[in-house]
């Protein structure tokens, strides 16, 4: 059964190299546009529950600004200490210039 996608932002609101935090049904999600590819990941670091939204984004990762844990945007995998557990990732798509996330 296909999941339910929720419109969260217009594509123009997340230019290449930027990210924006959204709330979808009570879930804190970060929409990241890295190298013209959109990713939707949990905005909460798996290490100490700090928000990721002010962290640096690389080509393929986002770093937690508080203690430096780093996560792969595509898979949520924890790339270095102090995090071990991954963060959740969500399917994302663009329909009519709207970014939609499946939660």
């Amino acid at each position: 059964m296909p999941g339910t996608y929720t419109r969260v932002l217009q594509t123009s609101e997340v230019p290449v190299g930027t990210k924006k935090a959204v709330d979808v049904g009570g879930k804190a999600i970060l929409i990241c546009n890295s190298e013209n590819k959109l990713h939707a990941v949990s905005n909460i670091c798996s290490h100490a529950n700090e928000t990721l939204e002010c962290g640096r984004m690389g080509r393929t990762w986002i770093a937690c600004p508080t203690h430096g844990a780093r996560f792969e945007l595509a898979t949520g995998r924890a790339m270095n200490p102090p995090a071990v557990r991954p963060i959740k990732t969500y399917p994302v798509r663009v329909v009519d210039d709207w970014i939609e996330v499946e939660v």
Binding site: E35, H47, A48, G55, R56, G58, R59, T60, W61, A63, C64, P65, T66, H67, G68, A69, R70, M79, N80, P81, P82
Partner: protein, 468 residues
């Protein structure tokens, strides 16, 4: 540590060169666009012919000496400046058990902090990590440091009356910025990097401007050998004929030029687009052209190149490369000589930095010991490409890691021929490490000319580890 070799031949030591073959400089003298003085300079010096004991490549004791006396006194590049473009950006650099947070503290200022909290030692940032911070907060108890290293916050300060918070700051290593790299040195008394490299080779790099290039590819490869064995495999062309027979068809290997300057810098110039002296009489100029192997052969396209009557493969390659790479890189390459376009220049800046500033093979190597096993090491290969004219600097390539058994052909986007050449080196190095332990003869023997860079390299190792 050295074993005296009783067999010393007659004549002036180190004076012999490959018989029946032109020197590198004779080859360059026939080029259409002549090489500048930095390339035509020669700087060989005989430095001895004793065997070098294998222990240094095997034992934890020698590795410990290197950590205690060499790695902490030498200049190493920790990252490219492009890895930390904005204030607060940081990346962690490890050498052995030592770890540093390299961070940009102002537009033109970078600091290297020892990566350990002053409370109970926890690393402030994990090894292998990078990111951006407004401050560095320890994940254990929350001691917090400003970007300049000063203490920002000490939780429950009432319990630490013995800590002078005004004077508490993260210790730093020395930092210099050169050629787009961030260089660090743990020795507070270390000479400036320019003095360490010396004026002559510093001047060579004034033209290369590696700060104007970007990291187009970055591979981290775990190697089955001591870091010095790995580094030394790239200090000579002597191995080309046996290890890379296909490469030999278009490389002046036995007549490559070797230079050494002082203790910290050496170079080889390997003329490309010429037949190996080992293969004279066995191949035509057209064969040389057909097999010319490059890091990015792909930029040459599928057009069949032909050596004109009376022409040379080298001449054709120089013209084609300049033309094709000018278009591919969208860069003006007209100021470069044929040699700079074609040839393989390898500079070693002691201990572990290799710079290949030429246009066709624009590589950087870095070698680091595996702190848990002296018979393994971590090798990094980067391609530094010119930034296409009129375009913004691309973000540096993410590193792609290969474990001990993995092939370079698994790196996305790598030229398959190029990956195969590097696999050939890795295969040898595992055998060399095992053979060094198995050998009845307890030291290695070096050629006087072709392996002079290894001689200088090990002599400098001796100088550092011999100094308490």
């Amino acid at each position: 540590m050295n074993v005296q070799n009783p067999k010393i031949g007659p004549g002036e030591k180190g004076a012999a060169r490959c018989p029946g073959a032109p020197s590198t400089q004779e080859i360059l003298s026939h080029d259409k666009v002549q090489a500048p003085p930095s390339i035509t300079a020669e700087h060989y010096k005989f430095l001895g012919d004793e065997d070098i004991a294998y222990d240094r490549y095997i034992t934890p004791e020698f590795a410990k000496l290197e950590y205690e006396r060499m790695w902490n006194r030498t200049w190493q590049w920790a990252c490219r400046e492009e890895h930390i473009p904005n204030v607060g950006d940081y990346i962690v650099y490890d050498i052995g058990a030592q770890s540093f947070i390299i961070t940009r503290t102002a537009a033109n200022q970078v600091k290297a902090f020892y990566n350990a909290c002053l409370h109970r030692g926890t690393k402030l940032r994990g090894s292998g990590s990078e990111g951006n911070a407004t401050d560095f907060k320890c994940p254990f108890h929350g001691w917090q440091y400003n970007l300049d290293g000063s203490l920002k916050y000490l939780p429950c300060q009432w319990d630490f009356p013995h800590v002078d918070t005004a004077k508490t700051r993260l210790p730093e290593a020395k930092v210099e910025l050169w050629q787009g790299f961030v260089w660090i040195n743990m020795d507070e008394k270390a000479p400036p990097l320019a003095e360490y490299i010396g004026p002559e080779v510093s001047a060579h790099f004034a033209k290369w401007k590696l700060e104007e290039r970007y990291v187009a590819m970055h591979v981290i490869k775990h190697m089955p050998c001591n870091w010095k064995f790995a580094a030394e495999a790239f200090l000579e062309s002597y191995h080309v004929i046996e290890t890379h027979p296909l490469v030999a068809l278009s490389t002046g290997d036995a007549n490559s030029q070797y230079d050494v300057w002082g203790d910290h810098v050496s170079r080889f110039l390997a003329p490309m687009g010429v037949l190996s002296p080992h293969l004279y009489g066995k191949h035509t100029e057209q064969d040389v052209l057909d097999t010319f192997t490059l890091g990015d052969r792909t930029v040459l396209g599928d057009d069949k190149l032909t050596v004109p009557e009376g022409g040379t493969a080298r001449g054709v390659m120089a013209d084609v490369l300049r033309d094709v790479m000018t278009k591919a890189l969208k860069s003006d390459l007209s100021s470069y000589s044929d040699s700079e376009m074609l040839d393989c220049y390898s500079y070693n800046i002691f201990p572990n930095c290799f710079l290949f500033p030429g246009i066709s093979l624009p590589m950087v190597y870095r070698f680091r010991p595996n702190p848990k096993d002296p018979t393994q090491c971590i090798y990094e290969l980067l391609f530094l490409r010119p930034i296409p004219a009129g375009e913004a600097r691309p973000a540096p390539a993410e590193p792609f890691t290969l474990t001990l058994g993995q092939s370079y052909s698994e790196v996305p986007g790598i030229d398959p021929g190029f990956g195969g050449v590097f696999d050939q080196d890795t295969d040898n190095l595992g055998l060399q490490q095992e053979g060094a332990a198995a050998s009845k003869k307890r030291g290695l023997t070096l050629g006087n000319y072709q392996e002079i860079r290894i001689r200088q390299f090990e002599r400098t190792i001796d100088k550092y580890v011999g100094k308490p």
